[in-house]
């Protein structure tokens, strides 16, 4: 399947909504928790069992992004978006069958395995295309798409909850909800499939420097460079630090102010979690766009350096000032989102646009690692501290100290990032074409 080339006059402003239609859909994954309580009561599942489809989906996201990236580069964004649509939608339809027949393994297979492949391929599908259309503002362009992944849960969470309320939370109601999700997301994602185009030339009109300016490195060579692994550490540390707050946000704010004159209610804690989601989303577009102005290395200095400072402030003064605690947590979460959204542009700066989507896919294994590391650190330490008789903010002091350490490691890794050695570069097509053109003339 050859990539769809834009006809003359095609606007590059049609590409971000194409990307958003995919990312807003697959971002539903973070709203899986809405289905957990109904599934547990309808099918007699434990909390651990009802989390299986989501966990498998995230594992498949990482694997399909890592191993499918080269295919995405070869076949183009329309092929990738079609695969994402088919897998994500079919995953829901298989899950609907599983709920209707009370066969839970079908839900795990459908949502987790098949749908998870859709997540991974969908996540990386628009990245290199956006960078090629917006070589002047790659941070902003990928920030819009990756903001969509955060926004997907904001849409799906209330939408799915309302659907379950209307259809009923028994197995047939859940089956109907899965069916509607599968069909609605297929229609919604179709816009992306129909609209996405690759630019006709290597430099779209009014877009500044050439896409092929600078070094070009293949995905196979990129993973052999220290720059790739430095960025892997940077992303892993930044995500771990964000998850450290995100994972236990509601109990954390309650614990921090439990012994004060202004304790936080469960309702207010839910509001705090919602505010963190907003900061996460705003950081994706805001900080990533800022990176186009101040540079990728500098913005990661901010994410990691100021992030460590925010954790230190929470640890030292967090329980004495609620506004300070909330502000620091919001800043940390905005850096968490910004780190995700800025990394494709950082990869483009280092490795060029040649196979940036595939390289991005491989880098997302850092996300999978952080997804295990972050919750493990915060939950395990908080449990041990509780066993040791600690309470309130002291439950989190040690894990926050570890987070500061991890951010410092990420900061050092970012400082170690240098331009890629020329031996890893592939010749740019234009250079190759120029050489080929000059040969007959000189002959």
């Amino acid at each position: 399947m050859s990539p769809p080339v834009a006809p003359p006059g095609w606007s590059r402003w049609l590409v971000p909504p194409a990307a958003l239609s995919v990312h807003l859909s697959i971002g539903q994954a973070y709203a899986w928790s809405v289905f957990k309580p109904p599934l547990e009561s309808a099918l007699g599942l434990s909390g651990t069992q009802s989390a299986l489809p989501f966990q498998l989906a995230i594992v498949m996201l990482g694997l399909s992004a890592a191993f499918g990236g080269t295919l995405v580069e070869r076949n183009g964004p329309r092929w990738a978006m079609t695969v994402a649509l088919v897998c994500f939608s079919t995953g829901f339809l298989i899950s609907a069958l599983g709920a209707a027949t009370e066969q839970y393994w079908l839900i795990v297979l459908g949502y987790g395995f098949v749908g998870g492949i859709g997540l991974g391929i969908g996540y990386i599908s628009p990245v290199s295309t956006l960078i090629k259309w917006f070589p002047d503002r790659p941070g902003m362009a990928t920030g819009i798409a990756i903001m969509g992944f955060g926004g997907g849960a904001l849409i799906a969470s209330p939408w799915s909850a309302q659907m379950l309320e209307s259809f009923g939370a028994d197995h047939s109601g859940i089956a109907l909800a899965f069916l509607v999700h599968g069909l609605a997301y297929a229609v919604f994602m179709l816009l992306g499939v129909l609209l996405v185009r690759v630019p006709r030339t290597e430099r779209p009109a009014d877009s500044g420097p050439s896409v092929l300016a600078g070094p070009q490195v293949s995905a196979r060579s990129a993973v052999r460079t220290p720059q790739f692994w430095c960025l892997w550490v940077v992303l892993c540390m930044n995500v771990t630090a964000g998850i450290g707050i995100l994972e236990k946000a509601a109990p954390m704010i309650t614990d921090f102010f439990a012994d004060t004159s202004t304790p936080v209610s469960a309702t207010a804690a839910a509001g705090f979690v919602a505010l963190l989601s907003a900061a996460n989303m705003a950081g994706r577009i805001g900080w990533s766009s800022t990176s186009d102005l101040i540079g990728r290395k500098n913005i990661y200095r901010v994410y990691l350096g100021v992030g460590a400072l925010m954790y230190a402030l929470i640890t030292l003064f967090g329980d004495s000032s609620k506004p300070l605690f909330i502000l620091c947590a919001l800043v940390i979460l905005s850096f968490y989102g910004g780190g995700f959204a800025t990394v494709p542009a950082y990869l483009k700066d280092l490795f060029g646009t040649y196979q940036v989507g595939a390289i991005h896919g491989r880098l997302l294994t850092a996300w999978s690692t952080a997804g295990v590391l972050g919750p493990l650190i915060v939950n395990w330490i908080a449990d041990r501290q509780e066993e040791a008789g600690k309470h309130g903010s002291s439950l989190y002091g040690l894990s926050f100290g570890i987070m500061i350490g991890l951010l410092v490691v990420g900061f050092v890794a970012n400082e170690l990032v240098r331009p890629v050695n020329a031996r890893h570069h592939v010749p740019a097509p234009r250079e190759a074409a120029d050489v080929a053109r000059q040969q007959p003339e000189s002959a």
């Binding site: 006809p7 049609l14 909504p17 969470s157 939408w159 816009l191 209610s265 469960a266 509001g271």
Partner: protein
């Protein structure tokens, strides 16, 4: 001096508006629900 006789490309603005509305409307709904929930931090 060359003269371009090819027809001018179609106006893409209606398509751009439709595409952004397609993704913007559900996102606005999600943000509205988020604001309602976030307000609980100050009122709950």
């Amino acid at each position: 001096m060359s003269h371009d006789s090819s027809p001018s490309p179609p106006d893409r603005r209606p398509l751009i508006a439709f595409a952004w509305l397609w993704v913007g409307a559900p996102l606005a709904y999600g943000l509205y629900e988020l604001v309602l929930k976030a307000k609980q931090l100050f009122t709950g």
